[in-house]
């Protein structure tokens, strides 16, 4: 599903050039669960942003679903992204002015889904994440764990092929963190490819493969289960 060749990302501010990623070669097969680990500042989030088509690499090639996307425009990336990728963030990033239901519905609006179908799918997703009773509440009224569940519901409602999770358990206590990991694992077993950035080796263990990043390079991989194409 994903193949990168010599991916490089350089950030330039006025005088300083920071190479966040260098010579990254990564392949992810459909249905894989990959964890990316590394110390602070090693480029994990940058890599996730690139993989999620939120940004363009400075150099290198990036094949997403067999298309070379490294030079895609913002619009092209957005179109590709909304059809195929769901995101889960450390700080949930729910829109405070919308209720739980409306937050979850948002991707479907941009996908142009009809109102009737939207309603069905939203209810489905909320049931799946066991957050249905909170449908008309606002994010401020929910606990961290509940908010993350809403975020996951939003991530899966578009039936994406890939889910990118950036430290999904970072703001949660261990009980809720376990819950989220359980949800991700279930999704993966149902066929969704998952790439997750994490600090915790315990949670990384849920994955088939752990990729270690250091100073912008991939230094090693631990493979628990190889999944071939």
């Amino acid at each position: 599903m994903i193949k990168t060749n010599n991916l490089k990302k350089v950030y330039t501010t006025e005088e300083v050039e920071t190479t966040a990623l260098n010579n990254v070669n990564l392949q992810v097969q459909p249905g894989e669960f990959v964890a990316i680990m590394g110390p602070s500042g090693c480029g994990k989030s940058t890599l996730l942003n690139l993989l999620g088509l939120l940004d363009n690499p400075s150099e290198g090639e990036f094949y997403f679903l067999d298309e070379e996307v490294s030079k895609y425009s913002e619009r092209q990336r957005a179109d590709l992204r909304k059809a195929n990728i769901g995101f889960v963030f450390q700080s949930f990033n729910l829109i405070d002015e919308l209720t739980v239901g409306e937050n979850v519905e948002l991707p479907l609006l941009y996908l142009g889904v009809s109102p009737a179908e939207r309603k069905t799918r939203v209810d489905e997703a909320l049931e799946q994440m066991q957050i249905m009773p909170r449908k008309n509440h606002f994010p401020q009224q929910l606990s961290g764990g509940q908010q993350q569940r809403v975020a996951v519901a939003r991530a899966v409602i578009g039936r994406p092929k890939l889910i990118l999770a950036d430290e999904p358990t970072g703001n949660l206590d261990s009980a809720h963190g376990d819950e989220v990991m359980k949800m991700l694992t279930e999704l993966n077993e149902a066929g969704t490819t998952i790439i997750m950035v994490t600090h915790s080796s315990a949670y990384a263990d849920y994955a088939h493969r752990v990729v270690h990043l250091f100073d912008g390079h991939i230094v090693t991989e631990n493979i628990k289960e190889r999944r071939d194409a």
Partner: protein, 805 residues
């Protein structure tokens, strides 16, 4: 999708009530001002358009050119004969209507009033003008002489509830007018208003020969109705020949032209307008103000929305992540601002309704929001709100939709420095407009004060004026005066043909020693009675005034003002004793002008006889009580009501058939500057509004600035900064902005006010004082607005601030 946008917009509004309120209020005020001014402009532009044939109606106007000085003057009045002569020479003009204004005494039963809005008019007037005749036949009503058509109001005044048709009114002392028609409400937006229209057929009976035949006697307004397809320019081209044929003595130095009826109200400023007109300059000026204020309000909106963008950043990022593209986000934010704009419109309409009575008072109109009738108005309103919403929302929409999800989701966007430069420009611009308005207001009031306080050269306090005295009563002046002087509270009295604070309208030829007859300049002439100069308190540069003790004063003495003496190339001292001659009408029935020759016996110091807009012109004074239609009475300041009562009694002894109507000289003087006073008030109000709206914006910006820098302030406090250090820090950038604003506003204000002051022959000097004052005022207000926020932020506990992250 729309529903989603609406929900977010509304909930956002409610969450940040203070800022939403500021935003909506600011925009509402801007819209309200815009609406009020547009109502005014719409009204001004619509004058005289209600006539069905308005597009083909023109007024005959003369332009005089003084061959010596090159100055031009325009006159709206022309000779009586003009119409007949035009009729023969220009057959393509089917109707020519003359209006001749009178101020007759009208009576019915025991009701007697002077009517100042009485016009003799040609009988086919209703063929040309669409005056609403509700009773009577427009084709025949004025066909016969001594018929009259009056307004419903006048009918009620004289006849009460009785049917006015066919009734007979007394005209003057010995004539009668039959009522042959009643007019409904004459639309307010006409360049003149009237109460009575009477048939011009009486001209041969009532007007004297001079008026009827003399081409130099300008007593009527002449309006032409052109046939369809006839071009006014074609007619104007034939005028030079026309003049040469009929009035060759006027051919040099006068030019005839046609004024479109619909242009008169805003563009015509001739001598002798029926009523003071508006001015297209005000329409432009007010339109500009409307645009300014709306701009300021939109700028505020832009600024506040952009500043607040930090709090929307995460939302923008997330929407992009889940698939929104940039144009969808632009749509969303534009939609929000248009939504807010319509909310503001509702509030604005309410504000307009509330303030219409006061506004109408200012501008002397009866404007109203004709919702049902005025489709243009409704569209206009919606259009303005849409326009404001789009303009105001465009910058924030484009700014915010450009946020990259990457930056936003990690919290590195502060909605800050990127937009700050542009926002600063906007604030500076707002304050520039405000300072401009403040300075303009200050200068207008300054000039007004100047007008009020300038030494006029005469004493205008406590002088009673009786005006419009007909010829028949003028021979009693002496006797009347002696009776009055018996009362110790009457100080002095005199007749005069012209009242100070009025207009000098009698430019008469002269014969001066040392000048061949044709070259002797014609001068404004005032015919007076004895004690004229004493009554007004005018002083002399040389010689003396008229005195009963010198018998030749009555027949052969002249007093000139200093300007006249200068125009003749004399000095006040050597003018005394020089031969001089002028003219007057000896026999009113025959209406003949005769020469009077004599010598100069005195030179009076220049006075501002007319408004300060006019330069002091040469004036000749001589004794001729039968030419003096006004009577001036100086009274003692105490017990004025008692004195007035005495005056009334005496007047009625001498003139039992005439009501006693009077005014005070200083009141008439104040009237001269009524327009400028109004202007000052209007500008003052708008200045206040502009500053208020600008401060609203500044308040909003300042609070965001402080919020954004909470962490920085916390750190500085920990490191030892005091409250005043912090306040200074926060205020610095705004002080600089206001300073720049001043630099922009001052030259513009200077230029504009210089132009305005050009209108006045006697004006104040534009010194730096008012500009600096305006700048300081704006600065103080801005500081007050900003420092409130800064002080609050500076007093906060730094611990709270640092825990922010």
């Amino acid at each position: 999708m729309l529903r989603n946008y609406m929900i977010v917009a509304v909930r956002n509004l409610l969450r940040h009530k203070v800022y939403s309120a500021i935003n909506i209020a600011g925009l509402a005020i801007g819209l309200a001002c815009c609406i009020l001014i547009l109502l005014f402009v719409q009204d001004e532009l619509s004058y005289d358009r209600y006539h069905e044939k308005a597009g083909r109606i023109y007024r005959f106007t003369v332009e005089w050119r003084n061959s010596r000085t090159g100055e031009t003057a325009q006159a709206a009045k022309g000779p009586y004969r003009l119409a007949e002569v035009l009729r023969t020479d220009f057959p393509e003009v089917p109707h020519i209507i003359r209006f001749n204004r009178q101020r007759p005494l009208i009576g019915y039963g025991d009701k007697r009033f002077f009517e100042g809005r009485f016009f003799f008019v040609d009988p086919d007037v209703f063929e040309v003008f669409s005056f609403p005749l509700i009773q009577g036949d427009p084709r025949t009503a004025l066909r016969e002489p001594f018929t009259v058509v009056m307004t419903r109001e006048m009918a009620r005044k004289y006849f009460g509830d009785e049917d006015p048709m066919g009734k007979v009114l007394r005209y003057g002392d010995n004539r009668e007018l039959k009522v042959t028609g009643i007019l409904g409400e004459v639309p307010r937006h006409s360049h003149f208003q009237f109460d009575f229209l009477s048939s011009m057929k009486v001209a041969n009976t009532l007007f004297n020969r001079i008026v009827l035949e003399n081409w130099g006697e300008n007593t009527v307004y002449t309006y032409l109705l052109l046939s369809p397809g006839v071009s006014p320019a074609g007619i104007e081209r034939r005028f030079p020949d026309f003049i040469r044929k009929h009035a060759p003595q006027w051919a040099q130095g006068s030019r005839y032209f046609l004024q479109p009826l619909t242009d008169i109200h805003l563009h015509s400023h001739t001598r002798g307008e029926i009523e003071p007109n508006g001015d297209i300059v005000y329409v432009y000026a007010f339109s500009a103000i409307a645009v300014f204020i709306l701009l300021i309000a939109c700028i505020n909106f832009m600024n506040l929305s952009t500043a607040r963008s930090a709090s929307r950043a995460r939302e923008v990022g997330m929407r992009k992540v889940v698939g929104a593209n940039r144009s969808q986000l632009v749509q969303q934010f534009l939609g929000e601002s248009v939504f807010l704009s319509f909310l503001a419109l509702l509030l604005a309409v309410a504000l307009v309704e509330l303030s219409l009575p006061a506004f109408n008072g200012f501008v002397g109109k009866a404007l109203d929001m004709n919702y049902s009738g005025n489709l243009t108005a409704i569209f206009g309103l919606v259009g303005i709100a849409l326009f404001a919403g789009v303009i105001a929302g465009s910058y924030p929409a484009f700014f915010m939709s450009a946020f990259e999800p990457v930056d936003v989701l990690k919290g590195t966007i502060k909605g800050g420095p990127k937009g700050a430069g542009f926002r600063r420009v906007l604030v500076a611009f707002q304050f520039a407009i405000s300072v401009f308005l403040i300075v303009v207001t200050g200068i207008i009031y300054g000039q007004l004060e100047h007008c009020r306080n300038i030494k006029l050269g005469y004493d205008k306090e406590h002088v009673v004026v009786i005006s419009g005295i007909p010829v028949s009563l003028r021979q009693n002046y002496e006797a009347f005066k002696q009776e009055l002087l018996q009362n110790p509270r009457v100080v002095s009295a005199a007749g005069t043909s012209r009242i100070p604070s009025g207009q000098l309208g009698s430019n008469i030829s002269t014969r001066a020693e040392g000048f061949p007859e044709e070259e002797s300049p014609s001068m404004q002439t005032v015919w007076v009675g004895y004690d004229f100069f004493e009554t007004l308190g005018m002083s002399f540069a040389a010689g003396r005034g008229f005195s009963k003790g010198a018998p030749s004063d009555k027949k052969a003495a002249f007093v000139l003002n200093e300007a006249a003496v200068r125009a003749l190339g004399w000095t006040p001292e050597n003018a005394i004793g020089k031969r001089f001659g002028s003219q007057f009408i000896e026999d009113w029935q025959r209406g003949q002008w005769v020469w009077k020759d004599g010598r100069v016996i005195g030179v009076v110091k220049d006075v501002h006889f007319e408004s300060l807009r006019e330069k002091i012109v040469p004036v000749v004074f001589f004794i001729q009580p039968n030419m003096a239609g006004n009577f001036l009475i100086r009274v003692r300041p105490d017990e004025i009501p008692g004195t007035l009562h005495f005056l009334k009694q005496k007047w009625q002894e001498f003139n039992p058939n005439r009501p006693f109507e009077y005014s005070f000289l200083d009141e008439r003087f104040d009237q001269l500057y009524r327009t400028e006073e109004k202007q000052g008030q209007v500008f003052g109000t708008f200045a206040l509004l502009a500053i208020f709206v600008a401060c609203l914006g500044l308040f909003g910006l300042a609070s965001f600035a402080t919020e954004r820098r909470t962490k920085e302030i916390g750190i500085r406090k920990v490191l030892g900064a005091s409250v005043s250090n912090i306040v200074f820090l926060m205020s610095k950038e705004f002080v600089l902005l206001v300073g720049v604003a001043n630099l922009i506003a001052w030259p513009v204000a200077y230029y504009a006010m210089n132009k305005w002051l050009e209108d006045f022959a006697y004006r104040i000097e534009l010194g730096p004082g008012v500009f600096v004052l305006g700048g300081i005022l704006a600065m103080v207000i801005a500081l007050a607005t900003v420092s409130a926020q800064a002080i609050r932020a500076a007093r906060a506990n730094p611990v709270d601030a640092l825990r922010y992250e």
